[in-house]
């Protein structure tokens, strides 16, 4: 029983890191994928727009990066990255809670940002000079991923692993 409890700390911490990398990654893949599909359609008509649509496609990809960033912060600050594995279950729980904002907000904001960027592709197809408006509209969604990232990162940095 004691052994099980001693495993819970590292386990929960790994779970926290996994969630942080996993869910926003899925969201970004979904968002980037959707935008890519529509962008390919535009390119069949006008391949010269590649640069413009590529930038729009990259936007929902940042959540995945925020996820990786959070994973790294969790692994690094808990000491798991350098091989130490003695964490109390309370610390593991704390990391798990800290990872939730970026995990969920990252997932959903990437999907919704993908939808805005997808609509932005239609805008760029018709009026290429309005690309920056499409970019900013999509970036509005990302704000919440950024806020969630801040919540996660600041929490992780303030957890003292025991």
């Amino acid at each position: 029983m004691n052994e099980l409890i001693s495993l819970m700390g590292p386990g929960l911490t790994l779970l926290a890191g996994a969630l942080a990398a996993l869910l926003p990654g899925i969201g970004s893949a979904k968002g980037v994928g959707r935008v890519g599909e529509v962008a390919t359609g535009v390119l069949t008509e006008d391949p010269a727009k590649f640069g413009k649509v590529l930038i729009l496609q990259a936007l929902p990809g940042t959540q995945g990066i925020y996820g990786l960033l959070s994973w790294f912060m969790i692994m690094n600050s808990s000491g798991l990255l350098s091989g130490s594995a003695s964490l109390s279950w309370q610390t593991g729980m704390a990391y798990l809670m800290a990872s939730l904002p970026i995990a969920f907000v990252g997932l959903f904001s990437a999907v919704y940002q993908g939808r805005v960027a997808e609509a932005g592709i239609a805008l760029v197809a018709k009026r290429p000079q309005e690309q920056s408006k499409a970019l900013v509209l999509a970036a509005m969604v990302e704000t919440y991923a950024i806020l969630a990232l801040l919540a996660t990162v600041l929490s992780v940095l303030n957890i003292k692993p025991v």
Binding site: I55, A58, L59, G61, T62, I65, Y66, L68, L69, F72, M73, Q129, E130, Q131, S132, K133, L135, V136, A138, A139, M140, E142, T143, I146, L147, L149, L150, V153, L154, L157
Partner: protein
């Protein structure tokens, strides 16, 4: 502030001089014509002149030829789609040499089409050769498909078994059928089948059932050996002819420049015709209206009057007219105009926000992408595009903007101590640590968060200052004093209440903060609802105006994204460094590191720079502009020479 003043130009001239006047206006590049519905085109303005050259067709022919030459010419191949520097005299000369150049284009195209024909026939020969080679030696004229009494099929069965099966069937159904096996290999058994005419249908069906493939007719006559010999004879001949033609075509490649010049000259002519077709007028006169920059107006009208018989007048814009705007800023601010124009250019009454935006864009972009290495790569890349390649258009403007912003990244990289993340630390295994001149955001994220918000407040205060200036300019100074100024007090006051203890050691500014916040709030409470006569309603409205604090609060919090992007840039860079150096300081380890770092940092730079650009833009569009700037203007788009291939070394 830095919007160029415009004058209204009205011009009446003779219809006979219309085309010449329009051409001078286009060359001048400083007059914007009002958009008008196209008028019915008079005969003389058909886009085909008597020589029949200037048609859309010849424009696209010239374009194709010029593009071909550019690809083939070793000297201009490297230019890609960049524009070639040309002298204005050559451009005019190309117009005069129209006849000659079009003649050359004709010869060029003639050779091209000969080459195309030759290639097709060579490809056909190749097909025939491939099909007939297995049949070499067959003593049958391929044109022969029947005699008086019999029909002949030449073709192949897929295998010996299928042939046997067919033979068995033929013995039953059409015993007169004779099958001559010509040759046989693993893939097919080539045979000639002869049968009586009245058995043709039956035998044909039988052949099909057993997978027989008829030798394709190909429209040939003669025995295969003869045909193959002819092709072999031809092939050398054709090859020589092809080489000769290609050589001839190569001689034309140096004419590519002429094709480019004439193409762009035709573009000018067709633009002129387009512009002319919109001009109203009578049988003998025409009339045009438009906008010119005020400082050029007098000169332009004088020059027009000198050269042509025209009545021209330029006057300041009247009430209700909305002239287009052209921004004119200091060299350092100019690159940032593109950010304003992408939002919406200022209307002619607005101030141009570029001078206010530029320093903050520089500041925030630099913070978000704060890395010496990334900044160097970004300035190097954009500097190369902007100054070496002399990129024009949107690309050139973006390059100059990112060039300056990249310098901001370098500065902040030093302040925060980042060079490709912690590359040097990782490579030296902890011996070298790039010092941060200010503080390290990885160690003190909270400090950066506070500073992000402090910079944000300064940003907002600048925007509010611009609002006060605008209100004062239109005589609403009182509104500015009671609507905008109190917010300075409230925000500063609240800020002091939160952090007033730590600013100056030993002195608490908390009380001062309280006083400021309360004073501001009281002014807002008393004046926020001043349009209401009813004193109670007025107080309620004043109370509601205090509710705006939430908007300011969310605006300020929005600047914390700076911290998030700083962390994202540097942590991802660290991840790649760590990942790349997993094998340690061995030769293989360094190799792996080089590859990983190259890919990883390229990716991180691209994404981080994009994020920095997008989010800095957002901070300006949403937080900054919402305080004072609406835009809604229209950019000045003068008639000017539009070119596809060339750019002038000086104005024609």
């Amino acid at each position: 502030m830095s919007v160029i003043e415009m004058s209204r130009l009205t011009l009446v001239g003779l219809a006979t001089q219309k085309a010449d006047i329009m051409e001078s206006l286009i060359r001048l590049g400083a007059v914007e014509l009002d958009e008008m519905p196209p008028q019915p085109t008079p005969e003389s303005l058909e886009p085909y002149d008597e020589r029949g050259f200037l048609s859309l067709n010849s424009v696209s022919r010239l374009e194709a030829a010029a593009e071909y030459c550019r690809l083939q010419d070793p000297q201009s191949h490297h230019m890609g789609s960049a524009k070639r520097l040309a002298r204005a005299e050559d451009f005019i000369l190309a117009g005069q040499r129209e006849q000659e150049i079009m003649g050359q284009l004709h010869s060029f195209e003639h050779i091209q089409s000969q080459i195309a024909q030759l290639r097709t026939s060579m490809a056909q020969d190749e097909t025939v050769r491939e099909v007939l080679t297995p049949w070499d030696g067959l003593e049958l004229d391929l044109a022969t498909t029947a005699t008086r009494e019999t029909v002949v099929f030449a073709g192949a069965f897929p295998s010996r078994d299928t042939l046997e099966a067919f033979l068995a069937q033929a013995r039953e159904e059409a015993p007169e059928t004779h099958v001559e096996v010509f040759s046989e290999d693993s893939a097919s058994v080539r045979v000639v089948v002869i049968t009586l005419k009245f058995r043709e249908g039956l035998v044909h069906t039988g052949l099909r059932q057993h997978g027989f493939h008829l030798l394709p007719a190909l429209g040939l006559s003669g025995k295969p050996r003869q045909i193959l010999a002819d092709i072999a004879d031809h092939s050398d001949d054709n090859q020589r002819r092809l080489e000769r033609l290609e050589k001839e075509l190569q001689d034309f490649v140096i004419l590519g420049k002429d094709f480019e010049l004439l193409h762009d000259y035709y573009l000018l002519q067709s633009d002129k015709i387009d512009a002319l077709s919109c001009l109203p007028g009578t049988a003998n006169t025409f009339y045009l209206t438009g906008w010119v920059p005020k400082k050029l107006a007098a000169e332009i009208t004088r020059a027009l009057k000198q050269r042509f018989l025209v009545a021209a007048e330029a006057r300041p814009p009247a009430e209700g007219e909305s002239p287009p705007v052209q921004l004119n800023n200091h060299t350092l601010v100019k690159p940032f105009e593109i950010i304003v124009e992408m939002f919406s250019p200022p209307s002619h009454e607005d101030v141009d926000p570029s001078p206010l935006l530029a320093p903050f864009f520089f500041l925030f972009f630099g913070m978000m992408l704060s890395d010496v290495g990334y900044g160097l790569v970004l300035t190097g890349l954009t500097g190369y595009l902007a100054f070496k390649k002399k990129a024009t258009g949107e690309m050139g403007r973006m390059s100059r903007m990112l060039f300056i912003s990249g310098i901001g990244s370098i500065i902040w990289g030093f302040l925060f101590g980042g060079f490709f993340g912690d590359m040097l630390t990782v490579l030296s295994q902890g011996k070298i640590v790039v010092p941060s001149l200010w503080f390290n955001p990885m160690v003190e994220p909270m400090t950066l968060m506070v500073w992000s918000m402090v910079f944000g407040v300064l940003h907002l205060f600048t925007a509010m200052g611009a609002k006060i200036y605008l209100l004062a300019k239109t005589g609403k100074l009182f509104d500015a004093l009671v609507d905008v100024v109190p917010w300075y007090l409230v925000i500063t006051g609240l800020g002091l209440m939160l952090g007033g203890d730590s600013l100056i050691p030993g002195v608490s500014l908390k009380f001062a903060g309280q006083v400021m916040a309360i004073a501001g709030a009281v002014v807002l409470l008393l004046f926020g609802g001043r349009d209401s006569k009813n004193p109670i309603l007025r107080l309620v409205k004043g109370l509601l105006s205090l509710y705006n604090i939430t908007a300011y609060f969310s605006d300020i919090l929005s600047y914390t994204r700076i911290l998030a992007l700083v962390l994202a840039t540097s942590v991802i860079a660290m991840v790649f460094n760590k990942l790349g150096f997993m094998l340690g300081p061995t030769p293989v380890g360094y190799l792996v590191f080089t590859v990983t770092a190259l890919i990883g940092h390229t990716l991180n730079l691209a994404l981080s720079a994009l994020s920095a650009y997008v989010h800095t833009s957002r901070l300006h569009y949403v937080e900054f502009f919402s305080k004072f700037y609406e835009g809604g203007g229209r950019l000045f788009k003068p008639l000017r020479i539009r070119t596809r291939f060339i750019q002038f070394d000086h104005k024609p």
